[in-house]
């Protein structure tokens, strides 16, 4: 088991390195840098001005060198202005005395860089936004997981019954409703003046400081709905399989009450498969989070991703992708370990 986790961790780090390099490469392509220079300076910059701006800020070094600097395994760039003789660099502000300048500053040293859009340290921004999204995700999980499991168990309890048919159709419908569709419908029905039901708020901006039932319900329900159907269907499938097992038949023949069969005998085995599915839903939820945060104007991690990508804020975007890739990989690992742990029939040598 230890070796298995170690090997998985190795593959994870390799994957994360590859992916960050791809992001790095895509954001550092010349047209993207040109756009960055123009948003930083002004939009009517000449080509020479763009080139000199990029040169001055260390963007024109070879790609692997820049990547090494970002990682913190290569010394940061230094640039001496040919006219004023002033020295600027990646790892220190202009005008720092020579002995106080550090050479390495990268992810390994804990320095995530500087955001060109927010004019702030990337690490701090990402941490605040992640906190806000964490709050949202927590609420989503609280709504989604119990609902999905209940629907799945109720549907899978008696295969082919009316309850099963209607709940299965409901879960199919919920997987067919992406967040931007259900969100739009929810806002129109529950928050707009057109239908007159002003039960909730169509914007969740105020929920960032003070989440109330009124401003937090719609975003949470919107994300939960899309993920719910899938988990419910998986739970149903595993429940129907368990319900046909021999030991359930034995229990029925012994005359155990149906509710006891479901709750005491079937449920524990039926919940192994959904656990994996729930863990693997996290990356999907990330998509939902980006859409919902944009739609409801909730300034969390997804909103940050849109801002960073839309403005080609390279270091912020890299930090965002590192976090999201890490979320994906860690949940995969947890789901694998949890599966082995929950199901003693599977052992990985």
């Amino acid at each position: 088991m230890g070796l298995f986790i170690l090997r998985r961790l190795g593959v994870m780090i390799l994957t994360a390195l590859c992916l960050t390099f791809i992001v790095f490469w895509l954001t550092n392509l010349y047209p993207n840098l040109e756009k960055l220079a123009k948003t930083q300076g002004n939009f009517r910059m000449s080509d020479e001005a763009v080139a000199s701006f990029l040169d001055k800020n260390g963007y024109l070094q070879p790609m692997p060198v820049k990547f090494g600097q970002w990682l913190g395994v290569l010394p940061g760039w230094e640039f001496e202005d040919p006219e004023s003789g002033e020295i600027s660099g990646r790892c220190f502000a202009a005008g720092t005395p020579e002995e106080e300048r550090s050479t390495f500053c990268g992810v390994i040293q804990g320095d995530w860089g500087f955001s060109t859009v927010f004019k702030d340290d990337v690490g701090g921004i990402v941490a605040t936004r992640l906190g806000l999204t964490g709050k949202l995700m927590f609420a989503v999980m609280l709504v989604m997981v119990p609902m999905a499991l209940i629907i799945g168990v109720l549907a899978g309890m008696r295969e082919g019954s009316v309850t099963d048919r209607s709940l299965s159709t409901f879960s199919i419908a919920s997987t067919a409703t992406p967040e931007y569709v259900s969100g739009v419908i929810f806002i129109a029905v529950f928050a707009s003046s057109a239908f007159g039901l002003k039960w909730f708020k169509g914007s969740a901006t105020s929920a960032m400081e003070n989440a109330t039932f009124e401003n937090f319900t719609l975003p949470v329900v919107t994300i939960a709905l899309y993920g719910m159907g899938y988990i419910a269907r998986m739970t149903r499938a595993s429940m129907t399989e368990v319900m046909t097992a021999q030991y359930i038949r034995t229990a029925r023949l012994k005359g155990v009450k149906f509710s006891d069969i479901v709750l005491k005998h079937a449920l524990r085995n039926a919940l192994i498969a959904p656990f994996t599915v729930i863990m693997l839903q996290f990356p999907w939820l990330l998509n939902g989070v980006v859409i919902v945060e944009t739609l409801f104007n909730y300034k969390g991690f997804g909103w940050l991703l849109v801002q960073a990508a839309g403005n080609n804020d390279i270091e912020l975007l890299l930090a965002v992708s590192v976090v999201s890739v890490a979320v994906v990989l860690v949940t995969q690992l947890i789901s694998d370990i949890g599966y082995v742990y929950l199901n003693p029939r599977i052992r990985i040598a």
């Binding site: 067919a176 992406p178 998509n287 990508a309 965002v320 992708s321 999201s324 890739v325």
Partner: protein, 405 residues
């Protein structure tokens, strides 16, 4: 002229969609009459859920085809702005109607005073056009790489699976934001990706036919020349625009000259298409790989190996036909997922032009005024919902029917 009530709006929409209803009735009568002779397709008509799903899907297919290239059904030009119709509710009459013009905006006007109903129909064509073809390409890529990975296993499998997991670990939206931008189009990366991804159908057909007929060179050689010639021409027309395959401000790789080029694809559409294929193919790869690993242990595969068949024959003519059930079901689901992805792209204003009538862009344009004028965003949202729901129900019906025997 007065405003229409909801009853008459629905009645008028029903009449406007007349050709669609006629086609649906004809299709269903024919299919129900001959369902015993139509194989899996016919069996679909035994399940109510499958029939409902199929009806929903075919409804949008007919709407797309009639409204798009044939230009029927639409009441107004989807791009023209009519003064005085900005954000008007459904059923608003037009002022100063001329002879031969439709007098109402059936589903109201959007924030640029365009007819929501006509844009909805034109938007159906965008989806009906892109989603199935993109899914098909993703399947070609996934099958061509997944079969050998599952069949041979070993180092090939490890490498390909690592690459697939690499793409799968990327959050889809981040990938879209990185790939589908005008700056990336300038670098020519989408063209390179198109060159790479679109060659897979060619490889697939080539291996498929060669593995079947290589013992009969007299059949194989002309067949391969014909098929590869045709597909190759299509491939070259697909990837080359204005006589070059990749054209960036600094250099260009020459392609098919314009007089041989059958069609040109707008770079905005191409990048959307390529990224959707790119995102979908690793999942297909994983499914095909899993199926191949399962099926290669069957007796008929062992029999074929004993007969001395080549590995590609076994993969494409023994394993693939026996994996068709789950693959067809997944194909339907995946078209739905692709539709959702296209909508996501439109929702973030990526790729397609902002005036494009596709549903995602329309939802994006309409969501800003959602609290006051919800109709402009709700119409495409419901359209997308019904299409994806139809595809999911269809997949469910197919799964049930294919499990039955």
């Amino acid at each position: 002229m007065e405003e229409l009530s909801w009853g008459s709006i629905l009645a008028r929409m029903f009449l406007q969609l007349g050709p669609v209803w006629i086609s649906l009735i004809v299709l269903f009568t024919l299919s129900l009459t001959y369902k015993r002779r139509l194989g899996l397709y016919g069996k679909l008509f035994d399940s109510t859920i499958g029939m409902i799903g199929f009806a929903l899907v075919m409804f949008w297919v007919f709407v797309g085809v009639y409204g798009g290239p044939l230009d029927m059904l639409v009441t107004h030009d989807p791009l023209s702005q009519v003064s005085g119709m900005k954000n008007k509710p459904p059923g608003t009459p037009m002022r100063g109607v001329e002879e031969g013009e439709y007098a109402w905006f059936l589903l109201g006007g959007d924030n640029l005073a365009r007819d929501v109903f006509s844009r909805l129909i034109k938007g159906a064509w965008v989806v009906v056009q892109i989603a199935p073809i993109a899914t098909l390409f993703a399947f070609m890529v996934g099958i061509t790489l997944g079969l050998p990975a599952g069949y041979y296993g070993g180092r090939l499998d490890t490498t390909l699976s690592f690459l697939a997991n690499l793409i799968l670990a990327f959050p889809v939206i981040l990938l879209f934001y990185l790939l589908v931008t005008p700056e990336i189009v300038l670098t020519g990366i989408p063209n390179y990706m198109a060159l790479f991804l679109f060659v897979f159908p060619l490889i697939f057909m080539c291996i498929l036919l060669n593995s079947r007929y290589y013992t009969q060179p007299k059949v194989r050689t002309p067949l391969l020349i014909g098929v590869l010639g045709g597909l190759g021409w299509l491939y070259l027309s697909l990837v080359s625009t204005d006589g070059s395959v990749v054209a960036t401000p600094t250099y260009a790789i020459p392609g098919l000259p314009p007089f041989l080029d059958l069609f040109d694809i707008d770079p905005g559409i191409l990048v959307v298409f390529v990224s959707v294929v790119f995102v979908n193919s690793p999942t297909v790869f994983r499914i095909v790989r899993g199926l191949a690993m399962d099926i290669k242990t069957r007796d008929y595969v062992a029999a074929a190996q004993t007969r001395g068949e080549g590995p590609w024959y076994i993969m494409l003519w023994e394993i693939l036909p026996n994996a068709r059930g789950p693959l067809i079901v997944d194909f339907c689901l995946r078209i739905g997922y692709t539709t959702i992805l296209l909508g996501t792209l439109g929702f973030f204003g990526l790729g397609l032009e902002s005036e494009s009538p596709d549903w995602g862009s329309t939802i994006n344009a309409g969501r800003r005024l959602l609290a006051l004028y919800p109709h402009a965003a709700i119409a495409p949202a419901l359209a997308l919902l019904t299409l994806v729901l139809g595809l999911n129900l269809l997949a469910d019906g197919l799964r049930e029917e294919s499990l039955r025997d």
